[in-house]
């Protein structure tokens, strides 16, 4: 087990190592160009163009510029290391404001911000050195005063220099904060494959524009901050370094001091310089890390077994490797007949389709995991709605309230699909993970339901005539959430397994505590929540943003999209390319999984709070594609189903699927979905 984990880490290092090295190299190589541009622009003198150009070119070769470039290379390397350490292929989306605050004060993030502030200060120092002029030194000799007796030259604080350094630190900190808030550590995979140079060239204008605008905002914020709190560092530096303040010069933390156009221009320019170099490092890392990687299907040598695609998919590698593997699967299924042939091939002694089995099993388990998650989320949403509707004081909920009827309807549907789901794809899904439900009758007959559950239902269901009665089982099922009184709990105690599926799924196993205490605790928790939810301030921090929680559910949907595309392309290609019919054996399972997922996704988009259209994406540098992944998933799911039905056509009627799904398939065959 540990050896496998070690092997996977080695694989990650092998795949990512070169990419990181190349990205860092390129960003360091691009640094002198940025520096040259900075020097030229910082010496801007439109009235003497010749002198300006010649001066700036002379400056380029001076030793201190070379030293600055060297220092900034170190900064770039540190920034790149942070990029590598913090990247994520699945963005973490804070669902409430409190979660966001929690992320900001997380020690990891604090270190990130601190180091970035230091690095910002270093870059700002380099910028002052390269700008020269009045910004260069922290301590300068005071302007001699008129009084002749004060002849001893004194050292004064150069406030411009301090302003510059502090602005660098502020920019570094702001960069780090925006890095977190905008999820800039998220690696979005491109929608089309392109060469790295072309991708870089495409993003470059956007990068320049973005850094200019961001720098403007940051410098504005910094000026405001300095106006209010600027005296603190100034006094501190003066006392520790025993410097005087020059009485002749304007102090900078006044309005007139800050209205210095040259100071503003230089601060802004150094901010642009800082952001550009850092964004370039970030962009290059993003481009290199999301480049497709070619995994072999079959190992040519025995020691390469760990690196081939089926093995990687079926093991549990670092997420980036898994994403790259699925991307490779999608590409090979679409573009490479030779590699497809390898997928469909049989193992040499034995004649088993190991490659296809491993790949299809992994894709299907990914998809059915998503199905589970969506069902759980829908259940939770339905339950939350149900709790919101009836008044709190009411003890017994009449099932015929309009709100409850709607929910009932919905949950009944989901239940029905669950049965179908369980009956159809249980070989692929562990039974313990399946949401356990008390559905009348049907589960008893199902061979996959646990005997304990069947027994329980025998006890509960047989005695009470659920069918046709006023009280529906679904209301009772949600009893523990609806009712707060203890006696009711005990009455319905036998239903404790049917507590919200979400919690069951989270804990992964049945409750081990005595059920009485457990339900009591649940109750108290609910009461606590309702009590707290009435306090406005707490609501402000705790309230979940519906859009954010939906985004969180679909945050890793890119994997599922690739799995869908890869699987459907492979199945479609198998119609002509699969010589041994290996795909045919899994076709019913694939169709069942896809159709079930289709049903669940359809239902998800009918939930309240769920918009059916993607939000507008502004063409900015910061990628927000994770916000729209669910729409991409919906589209590619439908396309995947159509791809299979279009190629197989009438032959699909011979495939063993449930009647429900057969109807659905027929709709797809007639192009009516």
């Amino acid at each position: 087990m540990e050896a496998a984990a070690g092997g996977q880490r080695a694989l990650l290092r092998q795949v990512l190592g070169w990419r990181v090295a190349a990205a860092i190299t390129w960003s360091v190589l691009l640094l002198p160009i940025c520096t040259a541009a900075f020097i030229v622009l910082s010496g801007l003198d439109p009235f003497h163009p010749v002198r300006w150009i010649s001066n700036s070119f002379n400056d380029l070769y001076t030793s201190y510029v070379i030293f600055c470039i060297f220092l900034m290379s170190v900064v770039i390397i540190v920034i790149s290391i942070f990029n590598v350490e913090f990247y994520a292929v699945v963005p973490s989306i804070p669902c409430s404001r409190l979660a966001l605050i929690g992320k900001i004060i997380h020690p990891q993030q604090v270190i990130h911000s601190f180091v970035h502030a230091i690095m910002g200060m270093l870059v700002a120092w380099c910028a002052t050195v390269m700008t020269k002029g009045r910004f260069q030194f922290l301590a300068v000799s005071c302007t001699p005063s008129e009084s002749p007796e004060d002849a001893v030259p004194q050292m004064c604080l150069n406030e411009y220099h301090l302003f510059f350094l502090l602005s660098g630190a502020f920019l570094g900190y702001s960069y780090s904060l925006f890095y977190l808030i905008n999820n800039m550590n998220y690696l979005p995979f491109p929608i089309i494959q392109q060469y790295k140079y072309l991708r870089f060239r495409r993003s470059l204008p956007l990068l320049i524009k973005h850094s200019c605008v961001e720098s403007l905002y940051f410098v504005r914020n910094f000026c405001v901050t300095y106006y209010f709190f600027g005296y603190i560092p100034k006094v501190w530096i003066c006392t520790t370094m025993d410097l005087h303040t020059d009485s002749k010069l304007h102090p900078l933390d006044t309005l007139s001091g800050l209205l210095d156009l040259s100071l503003f221009y230089h601060t802004w320019l150094s901010g642009v310089f800082l952001l550009m170099t850092w964004y370039i490092a970030w962009l290059l890392f993003k481009i290199y890390a999301t480049e497709s990687h070619h995994f072999p299907i079959q190992p040519t040598f025995a020691q390469e077994t760990d690196q081939c695609l089926p093995k990687i998919l079926s093991s549990n590698p670092p997420l980036l490797i898994k994403f790259l593997a699925l991307q490779d699967l999608m590409l090979l299924s679409q573009y490479s007949p030779v590699r497809r042939q390898e997928v469909f091939s049989l193992s040499q002694p034995g004649g088993h389709p190991h490659n296809w089995t491993a790949i299809s099993r992994e894709c299907l388990s990914l998809l059915s995991d998503l199905t589970q998650r969506l069902i759980a989320q829908q259940e939770a949403a339905a339950a939350a709605n149900g709790r919101a509707k009836p008044p709190v004081g009411e003890l017994k909920v009449p099932p015929q309230t309009p709100g409850a009827v709607g929910i009932e309807d919905m949950s009944f549907q989901s239940q029905r699909s669950n049965i179908v789901l369980r009956a159809s794809m249980s070989p692929l899904v562990k039974p313990s993970l399946m949401p356990v439900k008390t559905s009348p009758g049907s589960d008893v007959g199902s061979p996959f339901s646990s005997p304990a559950l069947s027994y329980k239902m025998g006890v509960v269901d047989v005695k009470s005539p659920w069918h046709g009665s006023v009280q529906s089982p679904h209301v009772v099922r949600r009893g523990p959430k609806l009712w707060t009184s203890l006696s009711d709990q005990q009455m319905n105690g036998s239903h404790h397994e049917s507590l919200p599926v979400l919690s069951a799924a989270r804990t992964g196993s049945e409750a081990v505590q005595p059920r009485f205490i457990y339900t009591w605790l649940q109750n108290k928790q609910e009461q606590m929540k309702t009590f707290l939810s009435k306090r406005a301030l707490i609501m402000y921090f705790f309230s979940k943003h519906p859009e954010a929680s939906i985004q969180a559910v679909f945050s890793d949907a890119q994997m599922h999209i690739w799995a869908l595309e890869g699987l459907s392309h492979l199945v479609a290609a198998s119609f002509t390319e699969d010589q041994f019919g290996v795909v045919q054996t899994t076709l019913p399972a694939i169709l069942n999984t896809l159709l079930t997922l289709q049903e669940v996704v359809d239902r998800h988009f009918k939930l309240p709070h769920v918009s059916s259209k993607p939000p507008r994406i502004s063409g900015s540098l910061v990628d927000t594609s994770y916000k729209t992944l669910r729409f991409a998933l919906r589209a590619s799911l439908k396309t995947a189903l159509y791809r299979i039905t279009t190629v197989f056509g009438e032959h699909l009627n011979a495939v063993q699927v449930s009647t429900e799904h057969k109807k659905r398939l027929q709709q797809f065959l007639e192009y009516k979905e």
């Binding site: 060469y195 119609f575 994406i617 190629v647 197989f648 192009y671």
Partner: protein
Amino acid sequence: MCSLGLFPPPPPPGDVTLYELNNALVCGRLSEQIPLAFQSQVPDLPVLSLPKEPLKAHGRLEPSARPPFIHHRESLWKRCLSAWRDTGLCGLLRELASAEEEGLRWLRTGSSHALAVCRWLSSLHGSLFPHLSLTSEDMITAFSQAVDWAGCTIRAFAWHPHTNKFAVALLDDSIRVYNSSSATVPSLKHRLQRNVASMAWKPLCASILAVACQSCVLVWHLDPTSLSTRPSSGCAQVLSYPGHSPVTSLAWAPSGERLLSASPVDTAMLVWDVSTESCVQLQWFGGGGVTYLAWSPDGSKVLAATPSAVFRVWEAQMWTCERWPTIKGRCQTGCWSPDGSRLLFTVLGESVIYSLSFSEYRGEMQGQVGGSKTASIVADLAETTFETLYGEERIGGEVHSMVWDPTGERLAVIIRGHPESPGSQPAIAVFRTRNSPVFELLPCGFVRGERGARPQLISFHPCFPQGALLTVCWSSGKISHIPFFFVSTLEPRASPRRSPVPVLGSVREQPLFSEL
């Protein structure tokens, strides 16, 4: 090489081409029926007549609702702001130059000078790429695949790739969707749906239609089971990108995942992920824009024609391109063989069809287009005089639009004719083609419509099981379907009726048992 001289003479005036049987086009009166043996096999397709009169020409000549309102003088500052928002820098300068406020002399003169510089610069730009000085409607007229885009009722036509359903864009900016199996005809209207230049149905999908409009691309999500005749504009997604208008051409990837859009003004073509409304620019300077797109049926390559004498062929995996300069004019139209190994294209100013072959697509050669060195001329369409019983007829000239049927056996071409010479008329010529083992182009005949009707748009049915079905939109507003009955060696893929037979050269041919 094939020339028009080898063609059988055109049918007598008054006769209409009805169908093709036994390698010959049969014409006759409209009332004549298709032979009984074939009648049951042809789906019941709606034959439409959409005359110009009932269509209300849109009265929206003025782009804004300004005239009905009483003129109100606002402050200069507000006017400048709104001008900046409406028309950008030039509008701002114009507003400033025409300001009547006191004490703004220097501002007025300054802005009028700046405006002059702007105009001079734009005229300089226009002299490099003359098409940029056209208005957007003239631009669409020039680059559209419809012969007379501005004057005819039907502006664009698109067959659904899998079902018997087609969409027609009309002069009044509405789109109607006709379906052989249902009587409801949805009519699509949207505030932004103006000057439709092209339409495309999403493959591997029930009912998603992309529409190239003047300012954006609209993607209609139609419910195939809905009975509504007027889907709300909420069913349409708006895909717009600054600087990317008017859109004149659209192409869906055959795998249904991406949409390409092109504008003659924008040097970049856009690859859209429609579901998330995000796009990637494929920038390639030179040429001044992209006028026409054609995605090869196997999904491997894309033809992108530009307004200048150059066109490009993109390879659709790594998105690199090969550049093909033409000698005389811009590439007007092009079409791909079903396996994506051959591109036929025509050039403005020359009355020939060129062919360009590509090495077979294997998928391993990433980032290579693999085109041959030179294009060869496969057909000469120079003007030819036919002596018929009813007088002489002259046919020939530049090609305006060209379509190849999904089986790769028939090629239909709209020959525009010479507008100067009086006797020459636009005509549709049909060729028989074969792509393997060697490329062959044989004459089949001319397609004739009703008296006085000129062809406007042509399109092949994407999955006609008995051969090919050519749909022609005539200038009279009539849409007719002409079946070509033949037995194809290659079944059209994605046929709704029957499943496709394995493509040529598949691995299924291997014997199960060896002889030894």
